[in-house]
């Protein structure tokens, strides 16, 4: 096989048995790899009704066929499992270098089954795979865990790990790789913790075969040129990082403030990518084979350099908590990496707690022992509560369950700004109708990247859409969702879509793997993947009643700013969306749709 390693590592943690299997090529043809292929394996191998923390759940670490190749941004991997946060399928995506190393070691995927009787870590050096005792690592923060393993296996080894948050089954725990890249969303870190797996260290020297070396060389050169010459991927992102979005989103009046109570702030520039570049930024950082280099490296208090915050993090800890202090936000981001927490869900859960406090549901007496404030705007609070959540201490224990369960415990679940119990990211859907539709229908719950319509409705890529209009938004949502499923499954970075169109992905895939996809067949694979995820969710009991948005966003108009007066008109969009998807009025894929997609 080309691109693909053709091998899966199946690790039964209960029996402590390791098996190397052949990749199912028939499934790979239809579900591509990464997100799509792992979802197919999960769909076939577990009952979607299982308890996510039970040993019946499986955890899959999946690369795409292009991961580890010379393809620009070909370094992504995904973590697929049933989510303890949403109860739906989880597919968390990360960059860095771990995924490429796993593929180069000779594996497309790792499938974890069962549960280890005691904490373990997995050591992979090409064909040598061992389950090892992690007693000396359990309880340690991510950086120290990574350092210890790199010391033992060599500096070239790459490490994926959970921190104390995942060990303690925080529903918003992340999987961290290469110190500060995260497969953040949906509590995948907690599933890993529930299986007693602390880390995976991998060293790969085999390499990846491609179908036609010269062809790949040529295609890679021309696609890299596109990325370098495009102003977004070639200038804006490397110079300012993703936080360049702060001012853009704020100036459109859709920058959620104080748990979505407002959507505009005059303070935004204090935490923008522009300001970061002038203050705490020391340099940019790139993932494996990436010419874009959107990553940030920033100054930390003791003169150290640490991975800097992305847009979503700057928003969740910044505007959402009303803290306009980049140093505090950077520090909160640092602790999320150390404890292994999703920055979006953690910041947003703290924001929810702050509103609960503001409205008198959480009282001073309750948090007196924690010694931290829950007032909006308190910069020590965002740092302090992150650590409490990571340790599951004090109120941090309840917060580790995520904003929905936190608010529900006080009788007001509607104050959680989430969809399917997963916290909404940094865009107020009331001012971007299509993006709001994607929030409501994403298979993994409140998520922006699975159909990033902000691209069209705000940035004008690939074309400008009127953000307040409902016209054609259903069609656009489907297109973006299907295309994203393709990109995720290939193992490439979503940011290439600022510069690429579908045909670029087709050319890269066919050159590397020797396949003969057309634009139509590749996009259909994306649609197939999307529908399979939907089927998993329906079987898990997540139905169309959860294709919704928080009441506030449907009923309360944005109070001020450039999008003043807007609400989200989901009820007018959803039926059209189901129709465009080929689903019935209850949101179930119709027989003819499943047949057409050969699911």
């Amino acid at each position: 096989m080309y691109g693909y390693a053709g091998k899966i590592l199946r690790i039964n943690l209960t029996d402590q048995k390791i098996k190397v299997e052949d990749l199912k090529t028939e499934w790979a043809k239809r579900y591509i790899g990464g997100r799509g292929l792992a979802s197919k394996y999960l769909f076939e191998e577990i009952d979607p009704k299982v308890d996510p923390f039970s040993s019946e759940n499986k955890l899959i670490i999946a690369t795409g066929p292009l991961t580890g190749t010379s393809v620009p941004t070909g370094g992504r991997y995904m973590v697929i499992t049933k989510s303890p946060l949403t109860g739906a399928i989880a597919c968390s995506n990360s960059g860095g270098f771990f995924g490429a190393e796993l593929k180069i070691a000779g594996y497309d995927m790792i499938i974890f089954e069962g549960k280890a009787p005691k904490p373990v870590y997995i050591a992979i050096e090409d064909d040598k795979v061992e389950i090892k005792d992690a007693g000396h690592l359990w309880g340690k923060l991510v950086y120290e865990t990574t350092d210890i393993l790199k010391q033992e296996y060599g500096d070239k080894a790459k490490v994926l790990a959970i921190g104390p948050a995942g060990e303690k089954l925080a529903r918003i725990a992340a999987v961290i790789n290469d110190y500060d890249r995260a497969a953040g969303r949906s509590g995948v870190g907690a599933v890993m913790g529930s299986k007693n797996v602390k880390a995976i260290v991998v060293r790969g020297t085999k390499g990846v075969s491609v179908a036609n070396e010269q062809k790949v060389k040529d295609v890679v050169a021309s696609k890299t040129k596109i990325l370098r010459e495009n102003p977004v991927t070639g200038e804006g992102l490397p110079a300012y990082g993703t936080a360049v979005l702060v001012n853009i989103i704020n100036e459109h009046g859709i920058f959620p403030v104080a748990n979505f109570q407002k959507a505009y702030t005059p303070e935004a520039d204090k935490i923008s990518g522009e300001t970061m570049a002038k203050t705490i930024l020391t340099k940019k950082h790139a993932c494996f084979r990436c010419p874009i280099a959107c990553g940030r490296v920033v100054k930390f208090k003791d003169g150290k350099e640490i991975g800097g915050p992305e847009y979503e993090t700057v928003w969740a800890y910044g505007a959402d908590c009303e803290v306009y202090d980049l140093n505090a936000i950077s520090e909160a981001n640092y602790w999320c990496n150390q404890y292994g927490l999703d920055t979006i869900s953690t910041g947003a859960t703290i924001a929810a707690a702050m509103e609960l406090y503001q409205r008198g549901y959480i009282k001073d007496e309750e948090i007196a022992k924690d010694g931290l404030s829950l007032k909006f705007g308190d910069s020590e609070a965002i740092v302090g509560w992150t650590i409490k959540i990571g340790k599951r201490e004090g109120l941090g224990d309840k917060m580790a369950e995520g904003s929905y369960r936190l608010c529900e415990a006080y009788g007001v679940p509607e104050l959680s700004m989430s969809v399917k119990k997963q916290e909404l990211p940094a865009y107020d859907p009331r001012g971007v109708q299509g993006h709001g539709l994607v929030y409501a229908t994403s298979n993994r719950g409140g998520c922006h990247v699975r159909g990033y319509l902000i691209s069209a409705e705000i940035l004008g890529i690939p074309q400008k859409l009127d953000r307040f209009s409902l016209e054609e938004k259903a069609e656009w949502a489907k297109l973006f969702q299907d295309l994203t499923a393709v990109i995720d499954s290939l193992g490439m970075c979503l940011f290439t879509s600022f510069a690429f169109s579908l045909k670029d992905y087709v050319e890269l895939m066919n050159a590397v793997c020797g396949t003969d996809y057309t634009e139509e067949t590749l996009l259909t694979a994306g649609e197939r993947i999307y529908n399979l995820e939907r089927l998993f969710n329906l079987k898990a009991g997540i139905d169309s009643s959860q294709d919704t948005l928080p009441k506030r966003l449907l009923e309360e108009p944005i109070p001020e700013g450039p999008s003043k007066g807007a609400v989200h008109k989901l009820s007018e969009l959803l039926p059209k969306y189901y129709e465009v998807r080929g689903w019935d009025e209850k949101g179930y894929p119709k027989e003819e749709t499943l047949k057409k997609l050969e699911i």
């Binding site: 495009n230 102003p231 977004v232 991927t233 200038e235 804006g236 992102l237 110079a239 300012y240 990082g241 993703t242 936080a243 360049v244 979005l245 001012n247 853009i248 100036e251 459109h252 009046g253 520039d269 923008s272 990518g273 522009e274 959107c294 992305e310 847009y311 979503e312 922006h448 990247v449 990033y452 691209s455 705000i458 940035l459 004008g460 890529i461 400008k464 009127d466 979503l494 940011f495 600022f498 700013g561 450039p562 999008s563």
Partner: protein, 73 residues
């Protein structure tokens, strides 16, 4: 007076905010020309938070926001 806010690399060599005296017919094109911003360097042009064409005449008191091509996630 028209307040013009610049972002990202449009700030390089320029101030973050530039005020223009209002006159009948002032529009985006005039502002770009005066600030020496080539049109292809403009990706988002907002007047009071809404997309407007560069031709459309502005009103006194308008706030103009200009972004170059940028993106993120």
């Amino acid at each position: 007076m028209i307040k013009v806010k610049l972002f990202a690399n449009l700030r390089e060599g320029r101030k973050k905010e530039v005020n223009f005296e209002f006159f009948e017919g002032i529009n985006g094109r005039y502002i770009l020309k005066t600030l020496n911003i080539p049109e292809k360097q403009v990706s988002i042009f907002l007047v009071n938070g809404r997309d407007k064409s560069l031709e459309e005449p502005l009103s006194n008191g308008d706030v103009v926001v200009i972004f170059p091509p940028v993106g993120g996630g």
